[in-house]
């Protein structure tokens, strides 16, 4: 067992940190406020190969793994620049296409996902199928003229307005009415595809959408991996998703702790910096411990994914997502509190993170669903539903 990162991983951390710090929290906040998508940072990170470190070299990626990709998102977030679409485009969609896509799909999508020139969104959640992906109703009916006609509705889909395509989780229905799970790649300019923003109380460069699929005609090769695809493909993308959400949460937690730490060294009352007061120092230290513990779990999960052990990775990725979200919410909360009134000013840049940190407690799978998973799968307790 070895917890030391390689020289290359350390250099990657430094390079991503330097890039992200040249943009910083103020840039992200201004972009979000203007309804923009942090495109300049996204494109530069893509050009430097940071967005596609996990994808195969053969298709323009870096040939490394989810460990390296999560490291990139952690460092971006720790500099105040969480790029949420990294969770979706290279981590979920990129992983699935690299592992299960046809050669044509890999050649068409992976190079541009890797260099960030194209973004693929991911649509799983439905109004009547939140956490239960087995009850998905979006269906591609076999088209007598060939291909599929896709109908369905999706909610809380990130970044659709800035994406080139959406990977839609649905089912196919044969002429005989036989249903089987399938992942459809739907270009965002496909006729019959529409979306509406959901107004959120979030300072983010990605917006959330309701997506409507009304008789969207798709060619037969729109299904990832072709006709014989199965649900294993979907799960190949969900472990990286949870790990990346953990990375984003941990990065935000680190960002908040750093802001609070620097404030607590400078701000002086009664002749001492407030950081010397244990009423503030101890809760911040505890938050730092929890962030580091969650980070270890995230790294273990990423290591398991990269070693090919999907089953073990599933448990670790869920635990990491849970731990990271909890640690991040606490770290942000305590950091805001450490700054007193300044914690909620725009100038100090922490207040807007309160809601951002909470997102990971709910998405992509809620805290309670992870507890259910651990109760049943890890502890072997009976199901409640």
């Amino acid at each position: 067992m070895n917890f030391a990162e390689t020289d290359e991983q350390k250099e990657l951390r430094k390079a991503v940190k330097a890039l992200a710090e040249s943009y910083g929290r103020d840039y992200m906040r201004a972009e979000a406020k203007a309804g923009k998508h942090a495109d300049a940072l996204w494109r530069e990170a893509g050009r430097l190969g940071f967005l596609g470190v996990n994808l195969p070299e053969e298709f323009g990626g870096g040939g490394a793994g989810i460990y390296e990709l999560s490291l990139v998102l952690e460092e971006l977030s720790a500099a105040g620049c969480p790029l949420l679409m990294m969770v979706v485009s290279p981590a979920i969609c990129g992983t699935i296409i690299a592992r299960y896509g046809t050669r044509e799909q890999q050649e068409q999508w992976l190079p541009s996902i890797a260099d960030g020139s194209k973004i693929m969104a991911f649509a799983i959640t439905e109004p009547d199928a939140g956490s239960n992906s087995h009850q998905i109703t979006t269906t591609g009916q076999a088209d007598p003229e060939g291909g599929y006609i896709l109908n369905g509705r999706k909610v809380f889909i990130s970044g659709v307005d800035n994406a080139d395509a959406i990977m839609v989780v649905g089912r196919t229905s044969s002429a005989e009415g036989y249903l089987r799970p399938a992942l459809f790649i739907v270009p965002t300019d496909a006729p019959g595809l529409q979306w509406q923003p959901i107004e959120m109380e979030l300072n983010a460069t990605e917006r959330q959408f309701m997506v409507f699929l009304d008789d969207v005609k798709l060619p037969a090769d729109a299904i990832v991996g072709g006709e014989d695809a199965n649900l294993a493909q979907l799960f190949a993308g969900l472990n990286p998703e949870r790990i990346m959400v953990a990375a984003l949460s941990i990065g935000i937690g680190r960002y908040a702790l750093a802001r609070a730490t620097s404030y607590m060294k400078e701000r002086t009352v009664w002749g001492t910096p407030i950081g010397a007061h244990q009423g503030l120092a101890h809760p911040l230290a505890a938050a730092a411990i929890e962030i580091e513990l969650a980070r270890l779990m995230m790294q273990k999960a990423a290591w398991l994914v990269d070693s090919g052990d999907d089953r073990a990775a599933g448990e670790a990725a869920n635990m990491a997502k849970y731990a990271a979200a909890e640690a991040s919410v606490k770290a942000v909360d305590q950091s805001v509190h450490s700054l007193g009134g300044n914690g909620l000013t725009v100038e100090y840049g922490l207040g807007s993170l309160i809601n951002v940190a909470r997102v990971s407690r709910i998405a992509p799978v809620s805290r309670e669903m992870i507890l259910n998973f651990v109760a049943q799968q890890t502890l072997g307790l009976p199901r409640s539903y």
Partner: protein, 259 residues
């Protein structure tokens, strides 16, 4: 075009730096050692020349074993290879001795253009480019904020306090650059991964035909006799504002001839 970039490893100027009590040299053991900031601009300029005119870029470093970290970092930005002059006998070498060693190494490399930072953040002497030009018998284009190449003709804008001077020379020449010249690139992931596979030639002073007596403590023409920490800033003069604070400030400024 054959381009050589001089890269020096220095203690991070963003952190506390110290001289060692026993020999007045830079304490490298306790410092976070990084590439001299100005050298990153030199690397960037070399890579831009290469992209525009072809050829190859070689990094040249003189320094202890641990300087390999900085060499790898430099290579991750894109240069093709590096030469590392490393020798225990070099400990204590002054600027004159350093220029002697680097000049010998440069003679082997046969560069058309040698690019370096205008100064290092540790010594800040700004003398090395001139010494190298003298030893090699090539032109010195120093303090550049802009460099253009037309065939074998190099033109720089030399940054001065008042503006800039246009200076030209034919290759081979040495160009030293300020941080106004460009914006250094970040290493890409491919660059980081490729860096460990790039050739790094290590040379001793014997390889360069330099005698141990000409360098190190024995060969140094200059010595640092003593050093002291910069004194903390004095308290200054406090003006208590009881309605006349503005007047007191103006009185002070005019007494110091600021207004």
């Amino acid at each position: 075009m054959k381009i050589v970039v001089l890269v020096k490893q220095v203690p991070d100027s963003g952190a506390e730096r110290n001289l060692r009590a026993e020999d007045n040299t830079v304490d490298r053991a306790s410092a976070n050692n990084v590439i001299n900031e100005m050298d990153e601009y030199a690397i960037e300029e070399a890579l831009r020349l290469q992209e525009a005119h072809g050829g190859e870029v070689t990094v040249l470093t003189m320094g202890p074993q641990r300087a390999t970290e900085s060499i790898r970092k430099a290579l991750s930005m894109g240069p093709d290879g590096a030469v590392h002059v490393v020798d225990d006998a070099l400990s204590g070498t002054d600027a004159l001795g350093t220029s002697k060693v680097l000049a010998k190494a440069l003679e082997r490399l046969n560069a058309d253009v040698i690019i370096c930072g205008a100064e290092s953040t540790d010594a800040r002497g700004q003398v090395l480019p001139h010494m190298l030009a003298e030893r090699l018998g090539v032109a010195a284009l120093t303090g550049a904020r802009k460099l253009t190449v037309d065939g074998s003709q190099l033109t720089i804008e030399r940054q001065t306090e008042e503006g800039y001077e246009v200076v030209t020379a034919a290759t081979p020449a040495i160009v030293s650059v300020w941080d106004t010249i460009n914006e250094p690139r970040y290493p890409s992931f491919k660059g980081i991964m490729a860096a460990k596979k790039k050739p790094v030639e290590t040379l001793s002073i014997a390889d360069l035909g330099v005698d141990a007596g000409e360098v190190g403590w024995a060969g140094a023409q200059t010595t640092v006799k003593e050093h002291t920490k910069r004194p903390p800033r004095s308290a200054g003069q406090k003006v208590t504002d009881s309605g006349e604070g503005g007047v007191a400030l103006v009185d002070y400024l005019s007494s110091e001839k600021f207004v």
